[in-house]
């Protein structure tokens, strides 16, 4: 069974600084996808960034980038130039290539301080 682990329950960062959120996963699948979702207090789950496991190049989306280490089964999220609007709970998720279901980690609450 797939598992996703986020070992940092809470983190904080000063506005404009850089922060890295950690995520490890375990899967026996060869075909899978990895995602980071953001859930602000408004509770809607918003896609931040995604990575296909077969691609070696790390995905980037503006201020958000990932460090994908396939052999180590690690998928961390780096947020550069943090903004107050980045304050939210962040979930790492693995998508089973056979069933399509998302397996979520426990989440990391990120607070960006002014």
């Amino acid at each position: 069974a797939q598992t996703v682990t986020q070992s940092q329950p809470e983190m904080s960062v000063q506005e404009a600084e850089t922060v890295t959120l950690s995520c490890t996963y375990d899967t026996s699948e060869n075909n899978y996808y990895l995602f980071w979702y953001k859930q602000p207090p408004s509770r809607q789950m918003i896609l931040v960034i995604r990575q296909e496991a077969y691609k070696q190049q790390n995905a980037t989306e503006n201020r958000f980038s990932v460090n994908f280490q396939k052999a180590a089964k690690s998928f961390s999220l780096k947020i550069s130039d943090s903004q107050l609007g980045d304050t939210a709970m962040y979930f790492c998720a693995s998508r089973d290539g056979n069933t399509g279901k998302l397996i979520f980690g426990q989440g990391t609450t990120l607070q960006v301080k002014p």
């Binding site: 995602f35 789950m45 979930f91 998720a93 069933t99 399509g100 279901k101 980690g105």
Partner: protein, 115 residues
């Protein structure tokens, strides 16, 4: 274009009752998934439907059931409600089913409280 819409936004029920939650996917999306998110935890997969057929089921009791209609909207039904069913229920839609890198887009959820 409208995103994933869920109704109702909030619901209060008592133990033993039945509840129906509704979800309309993004226009053109044919796959709908349901997740349960207990406060302070990550969402847990309940069901996935694609082209009106169940394509996946999570580790939930038979009290939980769902269906997808010809217009690709979906209902999640929960019978004999328990206190532990109190949670945020999230619906997500995607263009296609499993064998795709298409991401799932989430609605705002239905907050279900059981008294």
């Amino acid at each position: 274009d409208a995103g994933v819409t869920q109704s109702p936004t909030h619901l209060i029920k008592t133990r033993g009752q039945h509840v129906t939650l509704r979800c309309s996917p993004i226009s053109g999306h044919k796959s709908v998934s349901w997740y349960q998110q207990v406060l302070g935890q990550g969402p847990q997969f309940i069901f996935q439907y694609y082209e009106k057929e169940e394509r996946g089921r999570g580790n939930f009791p038979d009290r939980f059931s769902a269906r997808q209609f010809p217009n690709y909207s979906s209902e999640l039904n929960v019978n004999a409600l328990l206190l532990g069913d109190s949670a945020l229920y999230l619906c997500a839609s995607s263009l296609t089913g499993a064998l795709s890198n298409q991401p799932q887009h989430f609605g705002d959820g239905t907050r279900l409280s059981i008294l």
